[in-house]
């Protein structure tokens, strides 16, 4: 999967779960900048990412996924050929 496709898929997930406009989802989006990104939505985000990309995120990755940029990097790494 191309990086652009990964980011497009991720943006749809973040926009839906956090209830923010699609165009406002970019690398600057983080737990600090978005009040709706609480611990509960963190779980919804992880679940949606795992389902939509058909991957399993390591527990440590789930914990450090605190910005859109870090989510993108984590998903890219998970989808990279071994």
């Amino acid at each position: 999967m191309k990086d652009a496709d990964i980011d497009a898929g991720l943006k749809a997930i973040f926009s839906t779960i956090l209830g923010v406009p699609l165009e406002s989802v970019d690398d600057s989006l983080s737990t600090e900048s978005c009040a709706k990104w609480d611990s509960l939505n963190q779980i919804h985000l992880v679940n949606a990412i795992e389902e939509e990309f058909e991957i399993t995120l390591e527990f440590e990755d789930q914990m450090r996924m605190l910005s859109f940029a870090s989510a993108s990097a984590i998903v890219r790494a998970a989808l990279a050929p071994a």
Binding site: A12, I13, T16, I43, H44, A48
Partner: protein, 608 residues
């Protein structure tokens, strides 16, 4: 997600947004979510649900983290026909909140989800302590609150037969959890308004339902794979409190009750018996008989020659349901919507209490588009799935089958006999005189409170004030000795059971009818006259000069106003659809009806 099978997303969105087609909308959205039961699908539809006109406050009390279920529960509740506003209790507080229900705020229902490890510590030798603890929590709650409780035991962490610890299959934690499960079921059975939630079975059916690391890291029990089914289980059970059970299942005959077409294949060739597919049709009929025994009326709506259809019932010994198990028959060449309207008129029930099941997609589509208030079940071609399809609508879900429910279908059979007599005798007077009607009016008691609640809650046609008293309100009236009465009716054809309720309040020189409701089954036989005559007698005995009731106009109770006007009430329109109705009780007002024998309390001078 633009399309699931034949369903187009825009079509689903259009239905969901259309207030007149909500029954159909729930059906197609159900199919959509079943095809893709994922976090994103639920979250996307969550934002597309129509605005809730009424929300039911519920509380989720749990020994583990459950807030994550919220979006799933909200969508599943919509699919079950109700909308929630949810309150969650921190898992550290779950026992405290049962001991002190005020922590839960005002709720219409409380789900208690608990995992066995919370009550059964490792090394426990029996489950008695765990069951006793659970009982004390539930009983403490019940002493302080009458809110319905739903108990859901979750077997987490999952129990494996631990050969390594020397446990064989009959011992160890597995058998203790089984004991706890039995104890929970017994507790639910003997505690009022307490029910079981099958959350564990629902979770298991989701496959990979438990993640040990999440449990120990975040104290969450269910994986996201299990959340849709767990939410569905809670939403479906609670829906029984918030939406009425439908009353009638109308069935096709060919390829529905039996395999094949009787008019073409002949009575001897249709599939019914021990061999597939006849075996599946026999099983479907057995399950329909169970449904009938739980209070659901069955009716036939089939395009056939009636003689052909009757021949199956008379000549095929394998048939389970008898002709008289159906409360109405429309076997003709009319269109099915017209037949449904005729059946509704014959049974005296609204079409919004009907479910229509047919194997033909075309007939189903026709009924859906012409009678949107009818719930339609497209049975398809596989008879082994028919009953599941009927039950999946949730239209017949109920938490409790009362004695009234059990006898309903029989009393409708008696109604068929009544109609036959009515057709024979030419005037209503002699029919009533011949019927031997007996009305028994009694002060309400705890044992009749459930039926009174049901009557007040469900009666739309002969309901004077449309005020829906909650169960707690009825209990309080009974406990306080208020003038709340039940009325039971029988005639020579059978017993109708409790068919009416009357609540009186004396104020000054007036006796107020706080409410009066009568089941439509009892109307037009002089019973309403008898109830008002009784109220008049109570008023006179207490020295009151008039009877007064402030009625409310609703969509279906116009006959109340026609009737009160006919028997002499003066009426003044008030604001908000209310009507002030009065009648002086002297001089022959509201006489006893001639053909109803009334058994009533004699000393009625005190009303509160």
């Amino acid at each position: 997600m633009a399309r699931v099978g034949p369903i187009d997303q825009r079509e689903v969105e259009r239905l969901v947004a259309d207030p007149a087609r909500q029954t159909e909308a729930r059906g197609v959205l159900r199919q959509w979510l079943d095809a893709s039961p994922k976090t994103m699908t639920y979250q996307q539809w969550l934002h597309r649900l129509p605005p809730a006109t009424a929300q039911q406050p519920i509380a989720i009390v749990s020994s583990f983290t459950t807030e994550i279920i919220a979006p799933f529960l909200e969508v599943e509740a919509y699919l079950s026909g109700w909308r929630p506003s949810m309150r969650y209790v921190q898992y550290t507080q779950w026992q405290n909140s049962l001991l002190d229900p005020s922590l839960l705020g005002p709720s219409r229902a409380v789900a208690v989800l608990f995992h066995h490890a919370e009550l059964l510590p490792a090394g426990a030798r029996d489950a008695r302590g765990a069951i006793a603890r659970l009982r004390s929590l539930v009983e403490a709650f019940r002493r302080r609150a009458s809110t319905p409780l739903f108990l859901g035991l979750v077997e987490a962490p999952p129990v494996v037969h631990a050969i390594g610890f020397g446990e064989d299959s009959g011992k160890g934690m597995g058998s203790l959890v089984a004991e706890l499960r039995m104890g929970t079921a017994e507790l639910a059975a003997r505690t009022p308004d307490t029910h079981l939630l099958d959350v564990h079975a629902s979770a298991l059916a989701s496959g990979d339902w438990y993640d040990a690391r999440s449990f120990f890291a975040t104290r969450s029990v269910f994986t996201h794979k299990a959340l849709p089914r767990v939410a569905r289980s809670i939403a479906r059970s609670m829906a029984c409190l918030f939406r009425p059970r439908r009353k009638v299942l109308v069935l096709d005959l060919d390829n529905t009750l039996w395999g094949g077409i009787v008019g073409e294949d002949g009575v001897d060739r249709i599939a019914l018996g021990t061999e597939w597919p006849g075996s599946a049709f026999v099983e479907f009929q057995l399950r329909l008989r169970e449904l009938r025994r739980s209070g659901i009326l069955l009716a036939i709506n089939s395009k056939n020659n009636e003689a052909d259809a009757r021949a199956v019932f008379e000549q095929r010994p394998e048939i389970v349901l008898g002709w008289n198990d159906f409360s109405a028959h429309r076997i003709n060449w009319n269109d099915k919507p017209s037949n449904l309207i005729a059946i509704a008129e014959e049974l005296g029930l609204g079409l919004d209490s009907f479910v229509f099941a047919d194997d033909s997609a075309m007939e189903c589509a026709l009924v859906r588009s012409t009678l949107p208030q009818v719930e339609v079940v497209e049975l398809g071609a596989d008879p082994s799935s028919f009953m599941n399809r009927v039950l999946q609508t949730q239209a017949f879900d109920t938490l409790h089958v009362s004695e009234e429910d059990r006898s309903r279908a029989e009393s409708y059979s008696a109604e068929v006999a009544r109609r036959e007599l009515q057709a024979q005798v030419t005037d209503l007077e002699s029919f009533l005189a011949d019927s031997d009607l007996r009305l028994t009016i009694r002060p309400a008691e705890p044992k009749t409170s459930e039926r009174i609640h049901q009557l007040i809650g469900k009666t739309n046609q002969f309901n004077l004030t449309l005020e829906r008293l909650p169960k707690e309100g009825i209990h309080a009236l009974i406990a306080g000795g208020s003038a709340l009465y039940s009325a039971a009716l029988s005639d020579r054809f059978g017993d109708y059971g409790l068919i009416g309720a009357l609540h009186l309040e004396a104020t000054g020189d007036e006796l107020r009818i706080a409410n009066m409701v009568l089941s439509c089954r009892a109307l037009g036989r002089g019973v309403e006259d008898a109830m008002l005559a009784f109220a008049r007698e109570v008023a006179a005995a207490g020295g009151r000069r008039r009877l007064r009731v402030v009625c409310s106009r609703g969509p279906r109770n116009q006959q109340v106003f026609d009737y009160l006007g006919k028997v002499g009430f003066s009426m003044t329109e008030l604001d908000g659809g209310r009507v002030d109705c009065r009648i002086e009780v002297g001089d022959g007002a509201l006489p006893w009806p001639r053909y109803v024998h009334v058994d009533r309390p004699q000393e009625e001078t005190t009303t509160q």
